[in-house]
Symmetry: D2
Subunit: 296 residues, 4 copies
């Protein structure tokens, strides 16, 4: 059973289906609610958007992951943000077209070219837009492709997006347990809390750079209620089971005892730097040999 | 004349008023539209949310600032995210309470305690909620305090917020021109584009740390359309006119020729590290003396 | 049996006696010869000067340690460079005073004040000076205090030194074996070979600094016959058996596979930074817990 | 008029002649004495060995440069340490061969092969060996090639050296004045005093590495009389008149106000990294444009 940040018919549901075609999917009103269900063990995992979302859910996800009982990502998926435009069967030329404002912003040019006389109307989600069309309130909805599974609407257009490369990344989060096996192209996510000592973040990134570990995302957020303290959300290339990444995680933890592991999981998309250079195993063995008087 | 990201009655309007009590304020539908008006010189400046916004506008602001003709912040303001609950005069106990979903999420406990039987209804903005109450559609609106200036509603409650320290930061952006005078507690914003060479960001932050310049915010965003390339938005303590910050900006620019300056302006809130240690002026004079054969 | 860089009667013999009051001491003509005896197992250990020596032996020691079969220091001692002035019994006012040129340089003021009419004569070692006095060739010798054990001369003055804090540091070197127990105030010596890639040394020192490991000495020497390649001799505070130092050594080894361990041994003199901050054991356990799915 | 560290007939005299074929050369007994003559203006410049010397003079040079009135190197020269073996004309097969012990160490194999029955005898300098041969005391001298200019001896062999690449580097030091013109392959020498704060040296080297400035030599020496304080002698590629090197020198000076410039001068030997990457001039101009409101 899989929780996801609902309602039905959004990109997050689509991501949840990508994670698990067979599981029962349960929508929750908010990201924290979906994560809480996973924390309590009511569901096996929760699917939430984490980055670059058109639905604005990112800060909610980040805050919810940094506090409370730990959850660990075991998979990610990235969806192209390409919309379907849904209409009532036989509804004629749409005069109103509804969606979440962020979605409308991403299809503005398409509307101007294809439905130049239509009025764009804002709803609270892309799924709500579909429901409003079904209810006859508006004529067309800019929705996630999955919405058509839930609402008996007709697809007027698919693959609609002014910007070709808009994407949303989703994580599948579980209670800590066995890590996914390393695949050679994994990502590790971590959140580090640091006081604003000048140079604290510089030290953390130097620990990664010295191990040739590539950072693919960083975002600071002030810690609630403690002035001058920041959380840094860092995604890096590699898997905690790999010697170099494990070594780097230990270094981050030494600098910041509040370091929280958010998971190692296969990257949804190819690319990224190769795993850390240097033979961590050989170096550790060398130190062991020194300590035992077997070498120099 | 001041553009702002509208509609009327939101926190952004309230921020715009904080920047300029007297100027004429012009709402724009989107952040890019408000900024475009400033770029074209149709308005003197534009007020947009930049960080931690309840309205999800941050990525829009950041993307819009990183591309197109340059705009430079000359002021910031930080608003506590504390809502007013507005009702129609003489409307009785509200049975529905409307607002943007993010706003509703931030007053959930207040509603549970004060209007336990009310149904929360999502609208597309906090201002839209106020309008819907005025129209009789819903009974109460969770709105920015400024909304009451525009809608003849009654204030049922003020200072409503489950979380005490939620804040939104706004920038006032202008075409490049004379910088604000340094005040001794300024912030400088910059956006740097770096390829994902391992260690690129580590080098940038080392440049700051070695000059004892404090970083107060960092956020990466992938560059549209160029895989493996990132933009890093960095806020740091100090003013470009100060020798240490100027020296640091030059260093960032050497590493990343795409570095874009987003302004030096007084910090809205106290705190932060003191200005960079080390006497940059004396050191520069020493090098000049070496070059001229006057010292060693 | 202990080899030392002779001849008899020098500060190095005095250091060898400080290491081992009871062992048989065997002088060798050169540092490499003394070390070779230890390498071959003909002696248990070799005592050689390593730093700041008045006898110029440092480069010889460093080169000899960096190549050939490994030797590891198990102890150090630091001698104040304070000379005795030796004369023949009943020899009258000295008109000539002999010593190694470096020693003469260090007692110039003493001679000017105490034997203003004496002529300073250079010999090949401080011990050779004593022998020349014994032989009647010269009238006074500036020697190591220990010289008087070997030559039946009279001590005209002790504790002679223009500069009060001149010191020579000596190492006791053995074939790799059980390390001395950590005492809490140890030193670790290492030699690292790095090509002249810009920043190679900077990376090595960052590895130490990030672990709060204090460096007490560094010296580069070009590698014989390979242009643009350097050896860096580094002394640092701490013991290889300590988690932080072990971790740092592994890091150096990853950067430079030619890293050679030269020993961990109690510091002869107090002072130095406390051992590396951060709990290396706790951090390693945390990573183990992540990998086993027990935490985050 | 040129001072040099004598006596006549050594490699240092040979280096002095390389610096200036025409000047009058004045030998001084010690490095400090030669430098003092330059400081007082009695000579135009002083030639002293600085690195890897077979005569052990390096520490003396380094200490003398770090204290007292400033002197600045304007040239360097590197001599191959290849000896001549000098004998009295018609003297027959040598039975004794004299030299400074370091020189003897460097020709051991040559002696074993070419004069297998000769006894090696130590003298206080290579020049003293030549004088002793002239005096009939010993039969052969291992000397600097220049010695034959001063002593009417016969050259038995030239180019004698067991190790092919032994070299000594010499500096020509003057009172501060006009720097030599940059040639594109220069070296800059500097001495920096730093307390033993963990990481102080790491910061200094990071300043160089971040500017892609190559370090060709580093040596620490404890500061006399101040425990836990070190001097770091650093040679780097480039010229103080170059923007990048000047910028780096200013950075070192900010970290360590005791930083002393020891000169920028053409490298005696080819090689080394190209001058610092990044356009320092363009970056400085960009910052100026920001400050003047001309750009972003």
């Amino acid at each position: 059973m899989l929780a996801y940040f609902g309602p039905q018919g959004t990109f997050t549901e689509q991501a949840a289906r990508a994670f698990s075609a067979d599981d029962e999917l349960v929508p929750f009103d908010t990201v924290p609610a979906a994560l809480a269900a996973a924390r309590r063990g009511e569901v096996d995992a929760a699917c939430v958007p984490v980055e670059n979302s058109v639905e604005g859910a990112v800060p909610a996800t980040m805050d919810a992951l940094a506090e409370g009982d730990p959850l660990v990502a075991t998979a990610e998926t990235v969806l192209d943000v390409r919309f379907s435009v849904l209409v009532r069967p036989g509804g004629g030329e749409p005069r109103t077209i509804a969606s979440h404002p962020h979605a409308l912003a991403q299809v503005r040019h398409w509307i101007a070219e294809n439905l130049p006389t239509a009025t764009a109307v804002a709803t609270t989600s892309t799924a709500a837009a579909a429901r409003s069309v079904l209810a006859g309130e508006f004529d067309a909805a800019v929705s996630a492709p999955v919405a058509v599974r839930h609402y008996p609407l007709e697809v007027l257009a698919t693959d609609v997006a002014d910007v070709r490369d808009a994407k949303t990344r989703f994580l599948l989060l579980r209670r800590p347990g066995r890590l996914p096996e390393p695949t050679g192209h994994d990502r590790t996510s971590v959140v580090v809390t640091a006081t604003d000592r000048v140079g604290a973040l510089s030290d953390l990134l130097a620990e990664l750079a010295l191990r040739r570990i590539n950072l693919t995302r960083i975002e600071s957020r002030p810690t609630k209620g403690r002035l001058g303290e920041y959380r840094f959300y860092i995604d890096l290339d590699g898997h905690a089971a790999e010697p170099g990444v494990g070594d780097a995680l230990a270094a981050l933890r030494r600098h910041c005892p509040d370091t929280r592991f958010l998971g190692s999981y296969p990257k949804a998309e190819p690319g990224g730097a190769p795993a850390g250079t240097g033979d961590f195993v050989a170096a550790a063995e060398w130190v062991a040999s020194l300590r035992e008087g077997r070498g120099a």
